[in-house]
């Protein structure tokens, strides 16, 4: 507090905030440098990590200064485009919500960059990875700091593009290329929602700035708020991989694990939640849209948990758990201003925890060389340090008291119970499910007999799994550092945020929050903890007995229907395939057929017809005088009779 007061007097806050575009520009510059300019690898790491680190430092300084400064700053750079009478400007907004997100993005970005230094030490294309990492940070910061929907949309698409490039990082693998294409197409199709929302806003109220929209949208009658609400929800669902559109996130696990840690678990997928939080006033005006957000939240909560419970690959299970946690976030966001505060709480804590888990999984897969649960097990002895990091994340997620997960989910359950009791109960059941699949994951990976063999040293393939089976792990220092920081944050994060966050976000969401005590317990918490305890113990007993035989007879045919649906990720992928991709490709095949058959020789037919009449006509030129004279006389007769007729009529 004291430092912020000191800096405040010197008025440097306005100066620093004034050119906060450096936050975005610097990583962008570094990305350009790494991607385009040929330079030696010697100081690749320093430049790569430095780019992210500087923006993190800048964000921290800004945050500290903001502690004393309640007023949000809008930095107007230049007018982008005036459409009709609406004026769209390129301007950045530094307020309590956006600085928090900036911290989350830049912070985890830096940790992941440090981790990647070790993780990708022998990856030939690591320069491109660090370039793309910096590009992502720049794009995400643009999205988060944007002051209006259009700039947010630019950041939104740029982030989608970087996720496309990172998923398809190892392009030789056909699977990765397919996953990348699917992710990009699905995101862009869903971004139609954001684009049409922008169009509606520009046509109806002539402005796209968040603050202005909040005030003026109420004035415009009719169901425009509802339309905008649903449109934004569509875009948010895709970006945050909510149930109907989650299949791209599960395939996105093809990307390098640090990328998954940063993008597909902590920051980018949270952008959907951020969009809903930013346009909360719109949802307050449109109750139906808010209800839809709640429903989607609950649906995803259960869908994600269900898929995670039956997942076969460790990274896919974590991805499903991310979907489920984001379900919580949507649920909270839908509960109104009070819920929004706790949505941010959940978002921050989940980001940290999931990043930690993914990085742990990264070390694990690099050491073992494979990531499917069938091939893991018994890693406690082999990777003790990773186990500890993973355990911290595990405890935090399932909601062990006094850890960040407990507070985040506790508040959400309490607010849900107050507004809609049914959703509160469902949230509690969700916590139980979460506990089950996380414990299952922990047991299957770390305990039991080791179902993997030491990969022969020296097998040179550049794919991720191959690169991992080096002995011993070079560069593990940087990986350990990030893991420790993230584990500590996971454990202590909740405590730090619990008391302070509602007060901090008060100006943004104007929500009075009562329960902020650290040791706050009420009957709801007890119920959740009881359920938690029962589930954990039950899973441990169940798996202690079942794991050895379960994997051996792991043919899907005889499995329980429930498991089979879960394993197939709720058939979302097949539905997409059959419902959208198949008809599209048949129609385009039909079109290219018409193109080649109908139109191609359409013109030729026309020309042949004319040609044939010409030949027919030439037959008239028989060459003998008889026909000519006959034609001549007939012509004269017709002409004269025409004249007579004309005169007569």
């Amino acid at each position: 507090m004291y430092t912020s007061m000191l800096l405040m007097e010197s008025g440097s806050f306005t100066l620093l905030a004034g050119n906060c575009w450096v936050l975005i520009a610097f990583p962008l510059l570094v990305a350009a440098l790494l991607l385009l300019v040929r330079m030696s690898d010697s100081w690749l790491y320093s430049v790569g990590v430095g780019g992210v680190g500087v923006s993190f430092g800048y964000a921290v300084v800004l945050f500290i200064m903001m502690l004393g400064e309640p007023e949000p700053i809008t930095v107007q750079l230049y007018t982008w485009l005036s459409i009709g009478d609406a004026e769209v400007t390129v301007s950045l907004l530094i307020d309590q919500l956006s600085i928090l997100f900036a911290l989350l993005v830049a912070g985890i970005g830096t940790l992941v960059a440090i981790y990647s230094v070790g993780y990708l030490s022998d990856e030939p294309e690591r320069r491109r990875f660090f370039g793309l990492l910096n590009l992502f940070i720049a794009a995400m910061l643009l999205l988060v700091l944007a002051d209006n929907y259009v700039l947010l949309f630019v950041g939104w698409e740029a982030v989608g593009l970087v996720s496309y490039l990172l998923i398809g990082f190892w392009q030789e693998k056909e699977v990765a290329a397919n996953a990348a294409k699917k992710a990009f197409v699905m995101n862009r199709v869903a971004d139609l929602g954001l684009l049409s929302a922008i169009a509606v806003l520009l046509t109806q109220i002539g402005t796209v700035r968040f603050t202005a929209v909040a005030e003026q949208l109420g004035a415009v009658g009719g169901s425009w708020a509802g339309v905008v609400g649903f449109a934004l929800l569509l875009a948010a669902c895709a970006k945050s991989a909510q149930v109907p559109l989650q299949s791209w996130l599960l395939d996105a696990m093809e990307s390098p694990t640090p990328a998954s840690a940063l993008i597909h678990s902590a920051t980018m997928v949270a952008a959907g939640g951020y969009l809903i939080l930013r346009s909360l006033p719109i949802y307050m005006l449109a109750p139906t849209a808010r209800l839809a957000v709640l429903l989607i939240g609950v649906l995803t909560l259960f869908g994600g948990a269900w898929m995670a419970a039956t997942g076969r690959d460790i990274k896919r299970v974590l991805a499903c758990s991310t979907t489920s946690q984001l379900g919580y976030l949507m649920l909270a966001a839908g509960l109104g201003p009070v819920g929004a505060v706790f949505a941010v709480f959940q978002l921050l804590t989940h980001g940290v925890i999931k990043a930690g888990l993914f990085l742990a999984v990264g070390t694990l897969t690099r050491r073992v060389g494979r990531s499917d649960l069938q091939g893991l097990g018994g890693l406690v002895k082999v990777l003790p340090y990773t186990f500890v990091a993973f355990a911290c994340g595990y405890l935090a997620t399932i909601g062990v008291p006094f850890l960040s997960g407990f507070y985040a989910k506790g508040h959400i359950i309490a607010t849900a119970w107050e507004t809609i009791p049914a959703f509160g109960a469902l949230a509690v059941v969700g916590v139980g499910l979460g506990a089950f699949y996380m414990t299952r994951l922990l047991l299957l990976t770390f305990t039991g007999t080791a179902r993997w063999q030491e990969a022969p040293i020296g097998a040179e393939t550049s794919t991720e799994t191959g690169a991992e089976n080096r002995q011993p792990l070079r560069g593990s220092v940087s990986m350990r550092f990030s893991l420790t920081v993230l584990s500590l944050l996971a454990l202590g994060g909740g405590l730090a945020l619990n008391g302070w966050l509602p007060g901090w976000l008060q100006p943004v969401f104007a929500a009075e929050v009562s329960r902020t005590g650290l040791l706050y317990f009420d009957w709801l918490n007890y119920v959740t903890l009881g359920l938690l305890f029962v589930v954990v113990v039950g899973t441990v007993i169940y798996y202690r007995k079942v794991t050895p035989i379960w994997f051996k007879a792991a043919s899907t045919a005889d499995e329980v229907a429930l498991v089979r649906i879960g394993a197939a990720e709720l058939y979302a992928d097949d539905a997409l395939q059959r419902g959208v991709v198949a008809p599209l490709s048949t129609v385009s095949a039909r079109v290219s057929w018409t193109e080649s058959e109908v139109l191609e020789n359409g013109a030729r037919h026309l020309w042949r017809v004319i040609g044939r009449t010409s030949i027919l006509m030439r037959r008239l030129q028989s060459g003998n005088v008889r026909t000519y004279v006959l034609l001549f006389v007939a012509g004269t007769a017709v002409l004269v009779s025409a004249m007579l007729l004309w005169a007569w009529v």
């Binding site: 020309w607 010409s614 000519y628 005169a647």
Partner: protein, 519 residues
């Protein structure tokens, strides 16, 4: 009282006719060796002096009278047409004497009387005998055309028509290469020509019966007074128009054009296509505007239909033939359709005088100039490129011309583009002028129909352009080197065509300072 003949005004006709008779005399008197050069000198000087006289008359503004006891209307348009005719005749003369393109032999047979393939023919060939009568026939036909285009009475029109046609029947039959074909064409032309003259004469008789006089002015006066139910008048109108339309080769009477054009030697085909058509269309214009102007309501729409059908038949016909001259024949038919458009576009004012005749006449003259340039240029090029194979000028001679002789291909390209009507060439300016005129007088469907068919025929012209520019040359023999005259003629035509296209106003002004048709 003593008949007053304005000799000065009639000088061009007198000169050409006199030269024609003189050339017969030369035929009889001059020794064989000298006959060709003498004939050549005689006909060139005749045409040039006639030209000089016409220009002098034209420049002296006062010389505008119905001359020769009312037989000829020497007025502005007539003189303009005469200038056009004489210039085209001069150009055709160049083609007549062209020898270099078919290795030193004249395009005409050495002894017309020898049956094809007979020994006499071989003897005539070896002794390099020459038919120099073509010059006198040519001059007779030319004087007939001058007469026809300025005719102010029905009879002088008929006489002019006959004097023009009869020598042409002969000239068509004199081709050196595949003589049987050209003799057959001549016979066909003669038979059809005779029928047409009969119909024309019958029309004139009926008109005389109805109006009581041959003179255009009197006919006009009687028609404006009489009631409209005089069937005789309409029958006469129909028949006389049919007669003249045959000379033009318009739709119902176009059947002869392709056969005769391919049969006749190229020089004569050019003569037929340019001068004969100019004289005939102008005679038709004068016939329909001056005496029969009041009957505009009767002949305007049928004539519009004929024009459209002519363009249609010309366009569709041109698409498939394999022979360059046949294609040009069909495009000539199409252009006749366009020539009829200004006549169709006549719009009378209550007073019965054709107010727009001035505009139609100048539009027609502009189009005729452009048409003459195009046709002369294209036929000269056919002569040049056809070379030894002058007669069977199928398309192989043209294949890959751009690689062999780029300048030649460029000039042929200009002519083809002008036929299509690409802006920047004369064809475009004349099409725009004609179609605006027609649309303004209410025949929108005719204008758009004409455009549609000119798009169809563009396909045929493109085939030729494609042959020249994009196809690889069949054999790399360079196009035979023609005599200087033909190459000069072709380049003049191309250059004039381009300036007609780029600066049409200046060209059109020449025709606009003459006053309208004399009554």
């Amino acid at each position: 009282m003593v008949p007053v003949i304005e000799y000065l005004l009639l000088a061009p006709c007198i000169v050409t006719f006199g030269a024609a008779s003189l050339s017969i005399l030369v035929e009889a008197v001059v020794v064989r060796r000298l006959r060709f050069p003498v004939q050549l000198v005689l006909s060139t000087t005749a045409i040039i002096t006639a030209l000089a006289f016409t220009v002098r008359n034209w420049t002296s503004a006062d010389a505008r009278t119905i001359a020769a006891l009312g037989a000829l209307a020497i007025d502005g348009p007539a003189m303009a047409v005469w200038v056009l005719l004489l210039l085209s005749a001069l150009a055709v003369l160049v083609l007549l004497v062209e020898r270099a393109s078919n290795n030193g032999l004249s395009a005409f047979t050495s002894q017309a009387s020898a049956p094809p393939g007979s020994t006499e023919e071989n003897v005539a060939e070896t002794t390099r005998a020459e038919h120099t009568e073509i010059f006198s026939l040519f001059l007779f036909s030319l004087s007939g055309m001058l007469l026809l285009s300025a005719a102010s009475t029905l009879l002088s029109a008929f006489v002019g028509c006959e004097v023009m046609s009869l020598p042409l029947y002969l000239l068509v039959g004199l081709a050196r290469r595949n003589r049987t074909l050209s003799q057959e064409a001549a016979l066909k032309y003669f038979l059809l020509g005779a029928t047409a003259s009969a119909v024309f004469l019958y029309g004139i008789a009926l008109l005389f019966g109805a109006a009581g006089s041959f003179d255009y002015a009197d006919i006009a006066a009687t028609i404006s007074k009489m009631r409209s139910d005089n069937l005789l008048m309409y029958a006469g109108l129909g028949l006389s128009t049919a007669g003249l339309l045959f000379k033009l080769g318009a739709f119902p009477f176009h059947a002869w054009v392709p056969d005769i054009y391919t049969g006749a030697p190229t020089a004569i085909t050019t003569f037929l296509a340019t001068c004969a058509k100019i004289a005939a269309v102008f005679a038709l214009l004068r016939l329909l505007f001056v005496p029969l102007g009041a009957l505009r309501w009767t002949w305007q729409t049928p004539l519009a239909l004929i024009a459209l059908l002519t363009i249609a038949f010309g366009a569709i016909g041109a698409l498939t033939p394999r022979n360059m001259k046949r294609v040009l024949a069909y495009s000539a038919i199409m252009n006749v359709g366009f020539m009829l458009l200004p006549i169709v576009a006549a719009s009378t004012v209550q007073t019965g005088t054709l107010v727009s005749d001035f505009v139609s006449v100048s539009a027609l003259l502009f189009h005729l100039t452009v048409y003459a340039l195009m046709t002369l240029g294209v036929f000269a090029l056919t002569l040049w490129v056809g070379g030894a194979s002058g007669s069977n000028s199928n398309f192989d001679a043209w294949r890959g011309l751009a690689r062999r002789n780029p300048l030649l291909a460029a000039m042929m390209g200009i002519f083809m583009l002008s036929f299509i009507g690409i802006p920047g060439t004369g064809g475009f300016a004349s099409k725009l002028l004609l179609l605006t005129l027609v649309w303004r007088s209410g025949f929108a469907w005719l204008a758009l129909g004409a455009l549609a068919f000119s798009f169809v025929v563009a396909g045929c012209y493109l085939r030729i352009i494609r042959l020249m520019f994009l196809e690889p040359p069949a054999d790399l023999t360079c196009a035979t080197q023609p005599s200087k005259g033909v190459s000069v003629l072709v380049s003049i035509c191309a250059v004039l065509l381009l300036c007609c296209g780029l600066f049409p106003s200046q060209v059109a002004d020449i025709f606009s300072n003459m006053i309208g048709l004399l009554r």
